[in-house]
Structures are given as structure tokens and as C-alpha cells.
């Protein structure tokens, strides 16, 4: 490949990334200004930045508790998804069995299916068994697409480990559970991390289930932030600040998974 970058190779990425970051910058810009100030004039660089909006969120329990609700169901979902997906992914990557291809395909259809289709049954099911408006309800609902995702990504990582390792461990007298826990898991720990990250992310960004399966006690931040309308109109500063806070988890860990990010989004297939 041509190693000396021409003008196109320098300029196009620069322009593209500037445009990509511009809307995010604007959100941050508005989050450090108060709404009356925002409505007075457009400031490309805030002249009097303030953290008042953020402090408002951290002080008001009805605001910050919704972050806790989100974290609750997201963590529950990651634990369930990765937990049940590990043995299944191992089975798919190591053995052939009756109906393996069919089940693997069926998993995919669950990842692809519109959550809206499943919303009504979930809604009634959880109401009838008293799970409605609990973090567990949302966590289970998100398993619909996160369990298949976890199985596919983990299967991709596990298939990269040669089968000879399993056989050698068996010859050395390792029982299967010991082999799985102490030899196999450490080998694919990067894969487990990436899988957990993507389950976390897809559960964190989802709105339809999270907002429709909760009413008061378990409302997540993603559905509460739109309530910033008051008598004087939208409270832009507050809305922007709560938006910025939801971007933080992704922004913190993205550096660590940068080399596997394509693999995660492509269901472990790149």
C-alpha cells in the first residue's frame, strides 16, 4: 500500500471527523450553559461555562436515581447474558449436534427481530406475574437480543482457539469444569470482556423496552430525560447535561475495546 499519505488521505479524515464530532460538541456546549443564556444568543465557545446543570442532576434524587435504575438492569442483563451464553457458545464452537445450525440461525432472528413485536406480550406477561416496573423485567426483556449477540460473539472468539488445547487438557487429566474455568476462560478473557461490553452497550442504549416496561419505580435515565419540558418550554441546558452523562460510560471504555469494536458490532463475524 502507498505509505506516503497524499492530500486526500490527510484532508478527508480530518473533515469527516470534524463533522462527526460537531453535533456532540454542540451537546456539550449547551450542557455547560443555562437555558436563558442559551436562548439569548448562539455562542460557538461558551463565554461563561457553568456546571449548574450537572449539579442540578446530582442533587435531585428523581434525576440521579434513574441512572441507578439504568445501571441495575444493565448489570443484571450482562450477568445473565454472558452467564448463559458461555456454555452455549462453547457447544456451538466445538461440537456438531442435532439441529445446531437451525438453533444458531434462530438465535440470529431474535437479534434481528423488532423489539416492538415483543413489547405487548412482555407488557402483559410482566404485569401478570408482578415483574412490571422492576429492573429484572427490563433485564430479561433485553436478553431477547443480548443473549443471541453474546452467543455469536463468544462463538467467534472461541473458534479462534485450537481444539487441540481441549484435547491436551483432557489427556492431562483435567475434568471438564476445571479445564473450562482455569484453562479455557483465561484464554478467551478478551472475548468475554468484549461480549460483556457489547451486552452492556446494547442494553444501555435501548429505549423502547426500557421505557414501556417501567412506570415509576424503575424508570431509566434514557426515558426520564425527555421530561425537561416546563411552562417556559424545553430546559435545553438540563436536557443536554443529562444526555452528556449517558455518553460517559461508552466514552470511558471505548479506548480499551478499540481493536475489537468492529467484531462486536458485526456479531463476532469480522
Amino acid at each position: 500500500m502507498n505509505d506516503k499519505p497524499g492530500w486526500a488521505r490527510r484532508l478527508i479524515p480530518l473533515v469527516y471527523f470534524s463533522l462527526l464530532m460537531l453535533p456532540i460538541y454542540w451537546l456539550i456546549n449547551m450542557s455547560v450553559r443555562l437555558t436563558p443564556d442559551i436562548l439569548t444568543r448562539l455562542e460557538i465557545i461558551p463565554r461563561h461555562p457553568t456546571f449548574e446543570n450537572y449539579l442540578h442532576i446530582f442533587r435531585d434524587r428523581t434525576w440521579y436515581i434513574t441512572y441507578w435504575h439504568s445501571i441495575e438492569f444493565v448489570v443484571l442483563n450482562v450477568v445473565i447474558s454472558v452467564g448463559v451464553a458461555l456454555p452455549a457458545a462453547y457447544a456451538f464452537s466445538r461440537y456438531r449436534f442435532l439441529g445446531d445450525k437451525q438453533v444458531f440461525f434462530w438465535l440470529l432472528t431474535n437479534r434481528m427481530s423488532p423489539p416492538a413485536v415483543f413489547l405487548l406480550p412482555f407488557y402483559q406477561f410482566y404485569q401478570s406475574i408482578g415483574l412490571f416496573d422492576t429492573p429484572l423485567a427490563v433485564a430479561l426483556a433485553h436478553c431477547l437480543f443480548n443473549v443471541p449477540l453474546a452467543v455469536w460473539i463468544l462463538e467467534g472468539f472461541m473458534s479462534g482457539i485450537p481444539r487441540e488445547i481441549d484435547e491436551t487438557a483432557a489427556l492431562d487429566g483435567y475434568s471438564f469444569p476445571r479445564f473450562f474455568m482455569f484453562i479455557f476462560l483465561p484464554l478467551i478473557r478478551a472475548g468475554v470482556g468484549v461480549t460483556a461490553f457489547f451486552c452492556f452497550m446494547f442494553s444501555w442504549v435501548e429505549l423502547l423496552m426500557a421505557s414501556n416496561l417501567t412506570s415509576t419505580d424503575a424508570k431509566p435515565i434514557v426515558s426520564i430525560m425527555t421530561r425537561t419540558e416546563s411552562a417556559t418550554g424545553l430546559d435545553f441546558g438540563l436536557l443536554a447535561a443529562s444526555g452528556v452523562l449517558t455518553i460517559v460510560p461508552g466514552a470511558i471504555v471505548i479506548w480499551f475495546i478499540r481493536n475489537n469494536i468492529a467484531k462486536g458490532f458485526a456479531l463476532g463475524r469480522v
Binding site: 442435532l98 445446531d100 431477547l144 469480522v270
Partner: protein, 296 residues
């Protein structure tokens, strides 16, 4: 070749149990509703295919379906070539490459309703940079809340902003997997940039492009949150897509029968495309994975 072991079913049992409650039972409930008219807690009547005929004949739904198809097509036509082109000029080595990956990942990790919020703010004529730029600097009247064309433009721009990085990431990962020897051979042959692209890079990118096209099609086909936040499906119903239509029918109006019938039709369309995806992947994947053709 992988060994045959039917007892591996025990290992996939936990997944099956979780999905029994989150996928199988709900789907059977939908099937159940789609053929009944529920008049009360104890009275329900079997109505056969009535809901299906009603739903398919509903002009509102037909319009939503048409809008959905147009939207998904636009998304593919813009994002795939743009993503491929950008991947070709991304930095390949060192810190710049890492920074590019991180920046590309950013929009993908933002909650979908925050994406809607970002563009809702950005596009406003009074407080948004984008809207201000259009109206005041360029002098083009632009208001996504009132003018259907502007709403569509904003929504497409939002989707291009949000998801083109996914196409870039996939193509980029594909490009990095091409061994240097291929380029050296092409250089020896005196190949032009175009023929390197056409005969070396493009064939190697077939796999990732398949994934990109199908993921983008599927995800844009079930888009819900972004238009809901940005336009609420309006002005009128000009940006109401299938998922929002269905949610309104099911949770908003509790029209359980028609909603269920429509859900199944929606699901069948998705099933068809999932199958295409799976077949396309299986045809390309030489590995010993469950979806690879093993002639079993």
C-alpha cells in the same frame, strides 16, 4: 471437522430456557392474539384471518411500509458507498489509527434517544448550530418540525451520522486483514489505484460488506427511537415508520388483534432477511463454525 456430540444440547439449555421466556412464549402469545378477538377476560372469539386481511388492507399501514422501504433504501444507498470510501482513506498505522477507531466508535455508543436529542437540539433554528447555519448563514428556510422534507432530510442526516461509522469500521477491519503481499504483487504488475481497489480490495471486502449491508438494512428497518425523539413521527405521519406504528397500535390503542397480526407479518419479513444474511455468511465463511456449510 468437529466431533458429533448430541449431549451438547445440555450446554445450550440455559440459553434455551432464557429464550423460552423472552422469545418463544411471547411469540406464541402474539400468534394467539392474531387469530382471536378478545372481548373480555373470559370472552374471546376465533376470527381466523380477519385481522390479517384488515391489517394488510389498512392504507395507513401500507403508507408506513412504503415509507419504511424508502427510508431503508436511502440509508443503504448513502451509507454503504460513503463508509467504503471513508475506510479507504482512514489512517492505517500508529496513534492516528487508534484515534480514528475511537472517534468512529463514539456515535455508535450513544443511547439512541440521546442521538435523537442531539439532532433535535442541533437542528433547531433558534439554539442549534445546524439549524442556525441553514437559516441565517445560508438563508435556506429550514424547520424539521413543520416541513416534511426537512424532517426527512434531518432524519437521514441523523442516520448517516449515527451509523456510517459502523460501515467504516467493518470495511476498515476488512482492509487491515489484507496481507501486504497482495499490494506488493499489484505494485509489481504496475496496477493503478483503481485496479488495486477493483481487483484486490473489493473482492476481499465481500464478507464485511455483506455484514454491513444486512446489519444496516435490518437495523434501519426496525428504527424506532430516533424518529420518535426527533419528530415524534411527524409532521403529520410523514416520518412514522413500522415500529412506531406498531407500538402505537399495541400499547397506545390496545388494538391487540390487528397489532398481533401486523407483528407476525413484520416478523416474517425480518425472518426472510435474516435467512438471506445467514445464507450469505455461510457461503463465505470457510471456518468450521455452525453456520459454515459442512455438508452435514
Amino acid at each position: 471437522m468437529k466431533p458429533i456430540r448430541h449431549s451438547a444440547w445440555f450446554m445450550i439449555m440455559p440459553v434455551m430456557i432464557v429464550l423460552l421466556f423472552t422469545a418463544i412464549i411471547p411469540l406464541m402469545t402474539v400468534v394467539n392474539y392474531s387469530v382471536q378477538d378478545i372481548l373480555g377476560p373470559t370472552r374471546r372469539v376465533f376470527v381466523g384471518d380477519e385481522w390479517f386481511r384488515d391489517t394488510l388492507g389498512d392504507p395507513n399501514l401500507q403508507r408506513a411500509l412504503l415509507r419504511q422501504l424508502i427510508f431503508s433504501s436511502c440509508v443503504l444507498i448513502i451509507e454503504i458507498p460513503l463508509g467504503l470510501g471513508l475506510a479507504l482513506v482512514m489512517p492505517r498505522r500508529g496513534f492516528a489509527a487508534s484515534a480514528a477507531l475511537v472517534l468512529l466508535g463514539m456515535p455508535l455508543l450513544i443511547p439512541w434517544n440521546v442521538v435523537g436529542t442531539i439532532w433535535q437540539i442541533f437542528g433547531r433554528a433558534d439554539v442549534g448550530l445546524g439549524g442556525y447555519f441553514m437559516n441565517t448563514v445560508l438563508g435556506i428556510p429550514y424547520n424539521y418540525a413543520l416541513v416534511p422534507n426537512d424532517a426527512w432530510f434531518t432524519l437521514l442526516l441523523l442516520d448517516v451520522w449515527h451509523w456510517t461509522p459502523l460501515v467504516v469500521l467493518l470495511c476498515y477491519a476488512g482492509l487491515r486483514a489484507i496481507p501486504d503481499a497482495f499490494y506488493q504483487a499489484a505494485a509489481v504488475d504496475g496496477a493503478s489505484t483503481w485496479s488495486v481497489f477493483r481487483f484486490v480490495q473489493l473482492p476481499k471486502l465481500r464478507g464485511v460488506l455483506t455484514i454491513a449491508i444486512l446489519l444496516r438494512f435490518m437495523d434501519s428497518f426496525v428504527i424506532y427511537t430516533e424518529p420518535l425523539v426527533l419528530t415524534g413521527g411527524g409532521p403529520g405521519d410523514t416520518t412514522t415508520f413500522l415500529s412506531q406504528f406498531l407500538t402505537k397500535l399495541a400499547i397506545g390503542q390496545f388494538d391487540v388483534g390487528p397489532a398481533a397480526a401486523f407483528s407476525l407479518i413484520y416478523f416474517l419479513i425480518i425472518l426472510l432477511f435474516s435467512w438471506l444474511f445467514y445464507t450469505a455468511l455461510a457461503a463465505q465463511d470457510p471456518k468450521d463454525t455452525p453456520h459454515a456449510g459442512e455438508g452435514a
